[in-house]
Symmetry: C2
Subunit: 238 residues, 2 copies
């Protein structure tokens, strides 16, 4: 492995429209200041974020490759060529940390296979911030990604996670597309046992942050609207 | 719920002896500057960290309660009284984020039960930094905590995690007491299938950071020593 090969920086972003340096350490700004090659999920919002955290950085010279769920493995195969030419590359997520619950992991694996050093930077992971804040078991937990939409599949998955949380003593974390959050909450309350613990964490790190852990029974009296607010759900049957 | 009740801040620390503001956003410093009540795992290292991030803060006036694995539920029951008296309280981990893989979760749950607002701050979670950096499936993963020491139990757990990683397409994360890391790596290489993917992430965020993902077969030729280095292990059988 050549010593003048570039590195792959994993660069977190904010979870909403707050001040980047309130939720990101200064090292994130420093890396963005000196990197010109980026792999991003959405070019427009990535440029907006780069502009916000490094207002003086020249944008026209940036080399940006888009990696979203429509990007084929074949296309993304050349995205790390810049590293091999000696340039550092930054992988940016749409919100929060890259390569968790987004399409970035494949690029990271490619980096390992090519002998490119992978350097993770610290930033807000809504999954971890919710898990910390839930008060539920943080010694054993699983992130399940998106919950199925199909009614029967969804009910089955909710029941299965509830069962696993009890049998493995493992907190079960999951997410939904934000405009369906209220529907998901209703489905959870209709499906889970009254004594199962449920944490809902919405708008994490934002001024309207809302984080609450209660029994399913107590949730039935709660009136908070979750519509279109980014949310993490965690359940644990004790 | 009274509006002059204090909040419970979940305050992350560094993962080693690096500069706090390289891995923590400025908001962590701001919160520590104005909070005087802390719940910590180890008083000495907590004071050292507070001194490092806020050198001008008066230490004698701090009110510190210790919460470690020996603290009984009865003892910790009064730790949030300060919130009820209107003071903000900070929960600090020994390394990284509180209430994940440490005894803090119980205090957080108490806060929810008492109607105290829980506010998580961003910082380094070695679990998430390792997961992001592994290139393994970040859409579905489980953190299993410490792996059993007993030889038969350990082998069984390793096999079970390998099976789950394949059947659920779920990356399996686990840790070991750092002085036994080399032994664990040897056990993993002796137990897992040659094609199973293994990520080892050591000394995350430190200058000697080492993160590598390879097949078990390729690991057999790797000579990196992991002794006493904080490590995260992740496996995934494809």
């Amino acid at each position: 492995m050549s010593s003048d090969i570039g590195k792959l920086y994993l660069i977190p972003t904010t979870l909403g429209d707050n001040e980047p340096l309130e939720v990101l350490p200064i090292s994130v700004k420093k890396v963005i200041e000196r990197v010109d090659h980026f792999i991003v999920e959405n070019e427009k919002s990535a440029r907006r974020f780069i502009k916000k955290i490094t207002p003086k950085k020249a944008q026209p010279s940036l080399k940006i490759n888009v990696l979203d769920k429509f990007t084929s493995a074949l296309e993304s195969q050349n995205y790390l060529n810049a590293c091999e030419q000696g340039y550092d590359v930054g992988l940016l997520s749409e919100a929060g940390v890259p390569a968790i619950a987004d399409p970035g992991a494949n690029i990271v694996l490619q980096a390992h296979q090519k002998g490119i050093r992978v350097v993770p930077l610290v930033g807000p992971s809504s999954i971890v911030l919710a898990m910390m804040s839930s008060g539920l078991n943080g010694q054993n937990f699983a992130f399940n990604g998106y919950i199925p939409i199909d009614k029967i599949q969804r009910k089955k998955k909710i029941k299965e996670m509830e069962r696993l949380s009890q049998s493995l003593n493992q907190s079960q974390i999951f997410i939904e597309t934000p405009y369906r959050n209220d529907k998901l909450l209703a489905d959870l309350l209709a499906t889970l046992s009254p004594n199962t613990m449920l944490c809902v964490a919405a708008d994490i790190t934002l001024s309207v942050e809302y984080i609450k852990t209660m029994t399913v029974k107590a949730w039935k009296n709660e009136k908070e609207r979750l519509h279109k607010r980014p949310c993490i759900f965690i359940i644990h049957k004790l």
